[in-house]
Symmetry: C2
Subunit: 454 residues, 2 copies
């Protein structure tokens, strides 16, 4: 038996475990799921004979090391900041490792040691990052192999609620970490390239400069820019790219309404609100508005943000009960972002029967034989229920497939890797198709940003 240690049995581990257990007989696998709390781990492995759950505190060196020593390969599904201790042990014990997280400087620093020991440290192999890398590089390499040159690459991903569960005015529910949604876009401007010009969007404009997208059968979407699109130029080798933009997908209208929170300062996570515990939602809103002895919070809000009386954006706020005098914050020393998150979770939490949806949209512009072309590629994946979500599926399956490929000697390039090479992405994308994760490609006229006739 080959032992795979999965550390972390949170929301994104369900499909990962299911996939590996399904393969465990044919592939001679034993799966150990380690977590500080093994309730969910036990639920996910059931009574499967090729699996066990162990209590594993990632900050306890002994329990961590002994678990890793017994494994042939380690998958870390922990939050990204916790990978590094696991990674260092994998170096020490000589184990291959897989994560779905971005490579940070600490992880990158292990590259040489991993190479010296012949270890594969595969990262960024979930959905975003992950499937986005693989599906983009497959098209990019195909175009290059034909002799084409990529001049435009735009890529958009969103975790949304499935159409059948889309029941609120925001067309949004939390399908993943709510905190990341509330603070998204902070910490620096969005940077990207449009027709060879570097463009910068500050946080306060981010949700007002959206792009629109349409996916057949799923309707219209919008996207706001991710923080740093420029780094993909070197990662994907897009030396002569003119337009490079990555964004996050929402339903149309979300961003305009979200910007109200940004404008008032309600997404700030850098300081605590005085006496937050005893505030009503209305008090919270009022703390961002000028004092008045006569005017209502509602009118001050409309006036400050110039909201017309018949603007539908207002109904979105009412739906959240934002002006409630009775609902209380009940969080001590909370930041504005924490309070906003609580208010949103009242309205945007998934119901038991709700399903999620992952949407991805790539645009590839290229020049071949002096002519410009464009390929659009879209992928939509729906969740089954609240355990087997689209998020868990698109994150977990590529992780599982990569882990097995490494065990089987199909992925052998050592070092700190991301899935941008054919040996990695071709078999995995092929296998993902069998699970319904497919891209629909369309040839469209190259539009870029320079239409011939304005």
């Amino acid at each position: 038996m080959r032992n795979i240690l999965i550390i972390g049995s949170g929301k994104s581990s369900s499909y990962l475990i299911k996939y590996l257990l399904n393969k465990s007989h044919d592939e001679n696998l034993h799966i150990t799921v380690g977590d500080i709390n093994i309730i969910n781990a036990n639920k996910l492995i059931g009574k499967h004979e090729n699996a066990n759950a162990i209590k594993l505190d990632v900050f306890d060196k002994n329990s961590r090391e002994s678990a890793i020593k017994n494994a042939d390969l380690v998958i870390s599904m922990l939050p990204a900041r916790f990978h590094i201790e696991v990674a260092k042990d994998c170096i020490t014990c000589g184990k291959n490792m897989v994560t779905a997280s971005y490579v940070n400087d600490e992880m990158q620093a292990l590259d040489k040691q991993a190479k010296n020991k012949g270890l594969v440290f595969m990262n960024e192999i979930g959905v975003d990052p992950g499937i986005d890398h693989m599906s983009a590089m497959q098209v990019i390499d195909r175009i290059r192999d034909k002799g084409g040159e990529i001049i435009l690459f735009e890529s958009f991903t969103g975790g949304l609620v499935a159409p059948e569960s889309d029941t609120n005015l925001w067309n949004y529910k939390f399908t993943w970490n709510p905190r990341n949604v509330v603070v998204a876009g902070q910490g620096g401007p969005a940077k990207f390239l449009q027709e060879n010009a570097y463009k910068y969007i500050p946080y306060n404009r981010l949700f007002r400069r959206t792009e629109f997208l349409n996916i057949e059968g799923y309707g219209n979407f919008e996207a706001y820019a991710n923080r740093d699109s420029l780094k993909y130029q070197s990662v994907y080798g897009l030396n002569n790219i003119k337009t490079l933009y990555r964004g996050t997908i929402r339903r149309v209208g979300f961003s305009r309404a979200w910007n109200l929170f940004v404008a008032l300062g309600m997404t700030d996570d850098s300081y605590s609100i005085e006496d937050s515990e005893n505030m009503s939602y209305r008090d919270f809103v009022n703390s961002f508005l000028p004092y008045s002895s006569s005017d209502s919070v509602e009118l001050k809000f409309r006036h400050t943000l110039k909201i017309d009386q018949d603007d539908i954006i207002w109904d979105k706020l009412l739906e959240l009960d934002l002006f409630s005098r009775t609902k209380r914050v009940e969080l001590q020393n909370a930041t504005p972002a924490e309070i906003l998150q609580k208010i949103l979770m009242d309205s945007w939490s998934l119901d038991e029967s709700d399903k999620d949806m992952i949407v991805m949209y790539h645009k590839f512009g290229y020049e071949l034989n002096g002519e410009k072309h464009q390929i659009d590629a879209t992928m939509v994946t729906l969740g089954e229920d609240q355990t087997y979500t689209a998020m868990a599926k698109t994150v977990g399956l590529p992780v599982a497939m990569a882990a097995l490929a490494i065990l089987n000697g199909k992925i052998i390039t050592p070092g700190v890797q991301i899935p941008i090479n054919k040996e990695v992405y071709n078999p995995i994308l092929k296998e993902l198709e069998g699970y319904g994760i497919t891209f629909k490609e369309t040839e469209v006229p190259y539009f870029g940003y320079n239409p011939i006739n304005v």
Copy 2:
């Protein structure tokens, strides 16, 4: 002779040196002015027999220590971040010290050592902080001595251009460190109290929530909130205060126009613009606007920021030559804030004949015998020329007066101090009147934020 060492001979040292030299015979003073570059120091001391200039590199321990050892009192006019090394030497050598800067944690940490050695470390005794503390505490203490209770304190200060030199559409020129003006308000929300309610303004709203002020003979002003007004509650002992607000004064209309820069992200100092060196001013503006192959930068700017064609705000931008195709940034790896500063310095630098102006406005609301009262106090000081500026006068004179009072045993309370006690502020405010720095007090009906008839 008593030796006073002044470290730093920059813009704010002219009046300080002049005052001390004028007193040097009667008071038996010898003034040593130390600076890394002694050209300006020599200009300021002229051929006065009681003064000399020495080359002093504040980072060179030996030259710093030997200068401090020879002094009876040290005045540091360096940028605030450089005081601490001087302060530590003053502890070691047992010397009193005066600065015009805010007390930071490092300085505060020296309090016990200063007390143990019986040393006075007087800080925040320039104009803001300085004259604001003294003039406010004088009125606050007077009200308290009568048995009144302060319920409202609002305080506004601005460094502006004198009316006779006010020649541009912004009614503003750089009379002090331009960089501080460009990044003002960043790094956290403005926090204050209005009628017992805590209020928070994020940076992106700061310049849209101004207060208006009128000073007889000088017309209308506006003020935007300073970052943290709340700390003045404990500093001034305003336990039952309902409204507490500090702000920065500009001429009316400045903030609305400034907010255009904030909205586009042009004041960001946290990242470098690609290829900034070779950009035109127009390219710089365009990097914050969406790409278009047909629309002009001007129209994109107007559209993005919703500027009507007949809005005077537009003329303010044109006056800066913001859309110039020929003027170049010429700064390598510059941040947006650095580039904006350069553009503004083209237009807002003082001419040789320009004069500056310091404006201060306090509002004191209080309750006495069950009735509410209000006192407004205003101060306006004009500069004489570009050496003897209003800024140098209002910063330097209180520093000089405090230094002399310490030498003469009039200020004796040891430790890290700010000028909020009567022994300090009464004689200094009295003496400042002789130099034309006077407050005009007016009793006005208490308005607060709760007018009886709305």
